[in-house]
Symmetry: C2
Subunit: 404 residues, 2 copies
């Protein structure tokens, strides 16, 4: 998507302050891309491996494969690690994917590209790969990284499409940090307003690449993912982008509850706004470097909107409220998602652990209430009882940045 393009010469301070960070980034990105094309072309071709083959992983493989095919920058073949399953037909999932070029279980009806190869052995999948795309359920990531340790190229770069956090005793750990710590390689993130099934059928949408320092790597990730119907913007705020992708699922559960209570658009918009506000404050408390403008990117407000309009978290929470909380989220997930996993409820639990450890529960009424509703401690209608809350103020003494 073309940015409004209000960026101006740095020599113009009064205008400079209204320069859109994102537009500026996009322009720099484009310049950098064309400028660096030659030098990249002369280097060895990059080889991409996709670690994960669920709904979003399969769409990621399709996006990447359509960019690597016939490119002089990338190896044509895209290996996709498949957690092997036996289908009702008795065949192995990886064999069917390689024969049909289609993930018949998690993305039926969509061809992934002739250059996508499903590989059930993890180390075989990443052999010689210089670009690693992590897109597994987040609870598996630590085990996968431990198996990869010492078995990947040391010049490899990584990107995480995974929503969620690992909550450790000494605080939360973002997936991108976990990958960097365990494998010793740079890890960016890609998040955004992209319901997998809509991107799969090439409906126009956007995404945000969050990076820490390595702009050159960010440019590579933009090039490997973007399509005419899938616009990707890089932002130097990896924690902000990753937390947007993680926390929005908690807000989507709240939005689904509002839908299930038949409360209408005003109420849903109010709950989404309150959720976005808690996302911003939670992120900035954990990482003071997080930028407000990141929440205006696709990973922020747009992802929140699309996830609260469609998406599995909204859908299951809607059913949960219509069943007045009598059927558990696990139960409804099994019935409604055909093996896909619900992220909002587990993220709400992880967020709640962080809030409780820091005594911040009352300062985040929406996040706390979603968790307490999911565990059955509160009725679904409690999502609407904000006007009765009087959040406790956090004083500086209660916030230990050192522990974050």
């Amino acid at each position: 998507m073309a940015p409004p393009g209000l960026e101006v010469a740095p020599s113009s301070p009064e205008i400079q302050k209204i320069t859109p960070l994102d537009a500026a980034a996009a322009v720099v990105e484009d310049d950098a891309t064309s400028a660096s094309s030659e030098s990249i072309a002369t280097a060895a071709r990059d080889r991409v491996a996709v670690i994960g083959s669920g709904n979003w992983g399969s769409v990621a493989a399709k996006l990447i494969a359509s960019n690597t095919c016939c490119s002089d920058l990338f190896d044509d073949e895209v290996r996709m690690w498949v957690y092997e399953e036996t289908l009702p037909s008795g065949e192995k999932l990886s064999q069917v994917i390689n024969r049909e070029k289609e993930n018949v279980k998690y993305l039926p009806g969509v061809k992934l590209g002739s250059n996508v190869v499903a590989v059930p052995d993890l180390l075989n999948a990443v052999a010689d790969a210089t670009m690693l795309v992590f897109v597994t359920p987040h609870q598996f990531i630590e085990g996968i990284c431990n198996r990869l340790k010492g078995n990947i190229r040391q010049n490899a770069i990584a990107i995480s499409l995974i929503k969620g956090m690992e909550v450790k005793k000494d605080g939360p750990c973002m997936i991108s940090n976990l990958i960097t710590e365990l494998l010793g390689i740079d890890c960016a993130v890609l998040m955004g307003a992209n319901i997998a099934n809509e991107v799969a059928v090439e409906k126009f949408s956007e995404a945000t690449v969050g990076f820490r320092h390595d702009k050159r790597a960010a440019d590579k990730w933009v090039r490997i993912f973007r399509r005419p119907y899938f616009l990707v913007t890089p932002v130097q705020d990896v924690e902000g982008v990753e937390l947007c992708g993680t926390l929005k699922n908690v807000v989507a559960v709240a939005a689904g509850l509002v839908d299930g209570l038949d409360m209408g658009n005003n109420t849903k918009a109010a709950i989404m706004r309150i959720g976005l506000k808690e996302m911003r404050f939670f992120s900035k408390l954990l990482f003071p470097s997080v930028r407000d403008t990141t929440f205006f990117e696709s990973c922020g407000v747009a992802d929140l909107i699309t996830t609260c309009l469609g998406g599995r978290n909204r859908r299951v929470a809607d059913a949960f409220a219509r069943n007045k909380g009598k059927r558990s989220f696990d139960d409804l997930e099994t019935e409604l998602l055909q093996g896909q996993k619900l992220q909002g409820v587990s993220t709400a639990r992880e967020v709640y652990e962080v809030l409780r450890a820091r005594k911040w529960e009352e300062s985040f009424p929406l996040f706390s209430t979603v968790h307490l509703i999911a565990t059955g401690a509160l009725a679904p209608s409690a999502i609407l009882e904000y006007s009765e809350h009087t959040p406790r103020q956090i004083t500086s003494s209660q916030i230990q940045y050192s522990s974050l």
Copy 2:
């Protein structure tokens, strides 16, 4: 709505920078309210007049009447100026409203309160009023103010619920400025995520009061509008709040076009995000004092969401796209809105006049495209052709702040 409540002692700079402006404002507002209650009570009772009796005007009268009744701060009676019409039954609209306590034409089925009095004579309606609520179609406001000139209390305060701008030769003029200029009184604005018909049936929602300097007046407006189901937050950014309420209708037209093209949630979320981005940049170009945080308030992201999910602009634009632009907006408006007016299309024209006068059209592809689609110069599907745009950069020399 309870703010996340992260506001902290000013003595804590590193935390201070993450203090939510809005939460801080809300807290100050509450303190100020309780602190000033006594002094207000000892003063003469305020008398409220609602100038306008359409769909939103009728809901405003209901909200206000439920706060003035049995209050020792306000006169019980709320006069509502009605632009007199003869109903099919042959009766006058004002007479039916006063008999039924219901606006049978613009808000059927909702009781306004026994203390609401419909008055067809404008000067009679505002007689002795100290608080003037303007909620008419914006094209009538200048004429109304000219008739009021010299016929209102000089200590009166005003608030505008009107979406839209007056575009003059020397630039755009906000309605609140127009009222202040013509009547010489302070004018705040109230905007937010509130589809009139949902507020009318008391579904939970929020609003934002934008004020310039007069915090005491802002507190009065908050008190006169807020209900347990209608939460109001004051923000010191009158232009930002007013422009949100005005510009979001243009984005809602774009969102309706996307719906009419059956493009799905990703695309709609992307268009809404791009629209919010153009709203921010347009507002900050016109008024450098506008704050980014205002767009996180109910008047910003929440109003955008609710207006793009429901609302008349979205609805008519959806029909326009489904008719492939063969039926005009005027035509569809007459058929679908039973006399209510569509604001997005006229605002898009006014915005386009500002863009053209400053040669900014190419820097605001969404705003420009909406206008060109509405006039038939482009097909409805053009709303999706952003990736082909390369916005021209605005250089400082092209922006004459002096003329704004």
